[in-house]
């Protein structure tokens, strides 16, 4: 025990009273994403129970796969595009960051527009049947997350115009918005499999 006392004494003198603790925000964000992921887990489980227990699933609805597949490709590639932005800032290249993040935002907007188009041309409404309800609620809730991710990207872009705000060492906003975007992406892949592909097995 005495050794630890001495150790902490030494540490005390070395650090002084006001040490500022390291940045834990990324860890916090990861915990938050775990929680967000569980919301989708809940929704997906409900969907899977319906799928497993209702023989007439998906009630004769045939989703068009062409546009959503393109949308999927755009969203997935946007994750890679966005990663270039982080690589740029790691080289202190703010211009690069701005370029790649803007590109990501454009791809995100295209995705949302595509989804809007799909909604207006789907030919079925929210309350038509259980599959229709699931379709709108799941994709809509995901779309909400894409929107949040976009806002995150815009905030990062906004700040990147403040001189010296992001640098090689300090760019939490960049990392965080990128992590969030990847999360939204991964959720979409699961969602696409469940909502668009799984009913094809019937």
């Amino acid at each position: 025990m005495t050794t630890t006392t001495i150790e902490s004494q030494v540490a005390l003198e070395a650090k002084g009273r006001h040490h500022h603790h390291p940045d834990h925000r990324l860890f916090g964000l990861i915990l938050f994403l775990v929680a967000e992921g569980m919301i989708f887990f809940g929704l997906f489980s409900a969907y899977l129970i319906y799928f497993a227990t209702i023989p007439q699933w998906p009630f004769g609805i045939e989703l068009d796969l062409f546009l959503p597949s393109i949308n999927t490709l755009i969203l997935i590639s946007s994750s890679f595009v966005m990663h270039q932005g982080q690589r740029a800032i790691k080289k202190d290249d703010v211009r690069g960051l701005q370029f790649w993040f803007s590109l990501t935002a454009i791809m995100g907007i295209i995705f949302l527009l595509g989804q809007g188009y799909e909604y207006t041309h789907a030919g079925f409404g929210l309350t038509d049947n259980l599959f229709a309800s699931c379709f709108y609620v799941l994709t809509g809730f995901h779309g909400l997350h894409v929107t949040a991710g976009l806002l995150f990207i815009f905030a990062t872009l906004w700040r990147s115009f403040i001189p010296g705000h992001y640098s090689k060492e300090r760019h939490f906003g960049v990392e965080a918005s990128e992590l969030y975007w990847h999360f939204v992406d991964v959720v979409w892949i699961v969602l696409f499999t469940l909502v668009y592909l799984l009913p094809l097995t019937r």
Partner: protein, 554 residues
């Protein structure tokens, strides 16, 4: 880059005295937030308690003469919801906020601003719930099962949903903070196995909150769509399945009972060793059993659905896992008893409440094992046996432990000593009132009295009268409590730094702690529970150390 001197200057400006107004504003000090949580939760406790008294008054007679059946439904719905989401859960967060940074020697939480946001979601959530009375409060119970919840007043139910979503978000943000703080901000010499057990229990609680509360949100989002937009996720009339709601709901709400009890297991693990002057028995057993409870808690939910058409094999699985929970829980109870065994027990108020906790919780735990067994549960499901059971866990468990912690840390939080005589009176009245209220409910349930009814068979009346009398005694028990708190705050003697001679770090600073918690860097010179063990033979001239050396020899 801001220069170093500037930082120091800024900190000097911030280092001012605590003012009363701070407690009513968006403040980021974890100690202020802790008190805010505590006071808010107690306000709601009195509201939820008043609803309970109204219910018990109604149940004194077999006919619905005091409350109409509809109003009775609203009362138990609000009572249950308030007690869970606005009392016990935020009270746990109160202790966590106040104690975690102090116990691990940190200046504040990892994310102070997020912490304040989490707190400030609570009052709107609570007010929204109470405001639902204006449009006709929800009547479907705290479980809000569809299709019932889809048929009894749309807007009251929707306000209930929104309120729970707010409160759930608050709880999730809190959990992020607790977990990060505990894992990342301990002082240098403190490894996971030398942190106080309260921190372990909050770690387990936070994990549960993060994994389960969001699933409740998914259930409520879908329920909202059914209610407002006319979808039929859970509405059998439109081809939906109410059992899906039950699965989602209980995936959260069974863990929720651990979210409500684990923080208080932690509190008890602090209180008992201090007032028994003995090292805790089985530190690691208690720490790991919290984690085991969290894990098992996630795979037992369908024991609430034994009568919902759950297939036989699945009932077997959930019966087995539920009974398994008794093992880690039993380990804890055993460890607490073993800690007290042969200790120098002082029967002061915190210790009395702690002993009350262990005994009541034991009863609640045992009736829980009875309910876990399918053949028994099928008979008593939705009867007063269940109501008796969960009040032994929630009131006898969480609430009594909450009071134990309240008295234990009252000197630390307020800087004042409470009155011991009034405290003991509070305990005696509470403990008697509690048992008189809830013990007869078990018998009523076995006799076949349903829960959630305002009208019952006259043959149940005698036991109901006893229960109502107990509830009034419980109401009376709050009088010495309130007097004690108010009087001590105003006139109480000044509390010392370490009135209990305790070893955890929160006692190394002033009472109440200074702005950034510690005047000097706290020193981890012994394990958290090394009572009666002489750990420091060569006392140095350090002021804190001297005091601590004194503690060890006691």
């Amino acid at each position: 880059m801001v220069s170093n001197t500037e930082v120091v200057k800024k900190e000097h400006r911030e280092r001012r005295e605590r003012r009363l107004i701070d407690y009513f504003t968006f403040n980021t000090d974890h100690k202020v937030i802790g008190i805010q949580y505590l006071v808010t939760s107690f306000l709601f406790y009195f509201i939820g308690g008043a609803f309970a008294e109204a219910m018990r008054t109604e149940l004194a007679t077999p006919n619905p003469d005091f409350l109409s059946p509809e109003l009775y439904n609203q009362m138990f719905t609000l009572h249950g919801t308030i007690m869970i989401f606005l009392w016990i859960v935020p009270a746990g967060a109160a202790f966590a906020n106040y104690l975690i940074p102090l116990m691990i020697g940190a200046e504040d939480m990892a994310f102070p601003r997020l912490n304040a946001v989490a707190f400030w979601l609570l009052p709107p959530g609570g007010l929204l719930l109470i405001a639902s009375l204006l449009v006709g409060a929800p009547q479907a119970g705290w479980t809000s099962y569809p299709p019932l919840s889809l048929m009894t007043g749309k807007w009251g139910q929707e306000m209930w949903i929104l309120s729970i979503l707010l409160l759930g978000t608050s709880s999730i943000l809190g959990a992020i903070n607790f977990a990060t703080t505990i894992l990342k901000m301990r002082i240098k010499d403190m490894d996971l196995h030398s942190m106080p057990l309260f921190c372990w229990s909050m770690l387990a609680t936070s994990a549960l909150i993060l994994l389960s509360t969001p699933v409740l949100a998914s259930a409520l989002i879908l329920l909202s769509f059914d209610l407002i937009a006319g979808t039929s996720f859970f509405n059998p009339a439109g081809g939906g399945d109410p059992v899906v709601y039950q699965h989602l709901f209980w995936f959260y709400s069974h863990p929720a009972v651990y979210i409500m009890i684990l923080p208080f297991f932690g509190v008890i693990s602090e209180v008992i060793p201090v007032h028994s002057r003995k090292p805790i028995f089985g530190y690691r057993a208690i720490a790991y059993s919290s984690l085991a409870i969290s894990f098992l808690g996630l795979i037992v939910w369908a024991h609430h659905m034994f009568t919902s058409g759950t297939p036989g094999w699945l009932r077997m699985f959930f019966m087995a896992t539920t009974m398994l929970v008794a093992v880690p829980t039993g380990i804890k109870v055993f460890s607490w008893c073993a800690t007290m065994w042969g200790g120098k027990i002082s029967l002061n108020t915190p210790m009395l409440f702690a002993i009350g906790f262990v005994s009541s919780f034991l009863i609640g735990g045992l009736t829980g094992v009875m309910l876990a067994s399918v053949p028994f549960d099928i008979h008593v499901h939705d009867t007063y046996f269940v109501v008796g059971h969960f009040h032994y866990v929630l009131f006898g468990g969480s609430a009594l432990a909450l009071f134990a912690g309240f008295y234990h840390w009252f000197p630390k939080m307020t800087g004042k000593n409470y009155n011991e005589t009034l405290g003991r009176l509070h305990f005696i009245l509470t403990f008697l009132g509690f048992n008189i209220t809830f013990m007869p409910m078990h018998q009523l349930g076995l006799m076949g009295m349903n829960r959630r009814i305002a009208l019952y068979d006259p043959s149940f009346q005698p036991l109901n009268l006893i229960s109502t009398a107990g509830a009034y005694l419980l109401a009376i028990s709050t009088i010495p409590f309130i007097i004690n708190v108010v009087w001590s705050l105003l006139k109480g003697t000044k509390a010392e730094r370490n009135p209990w001679n305790a070893l955890t770090l929160e006692w190394q600073t002033a009472s109440p702690p200074v702005m950034e918690n510690f005047e000097e860097e706290p020193i981890l010179w012994s394990g958290p529970y090394d009572y009666g063990i002489d750990t420091s033979p060569e006392a140095t001239a350090q002021s804190v150390e001297e005091m601590l050396a004194d503690v060890a020899s006691k």
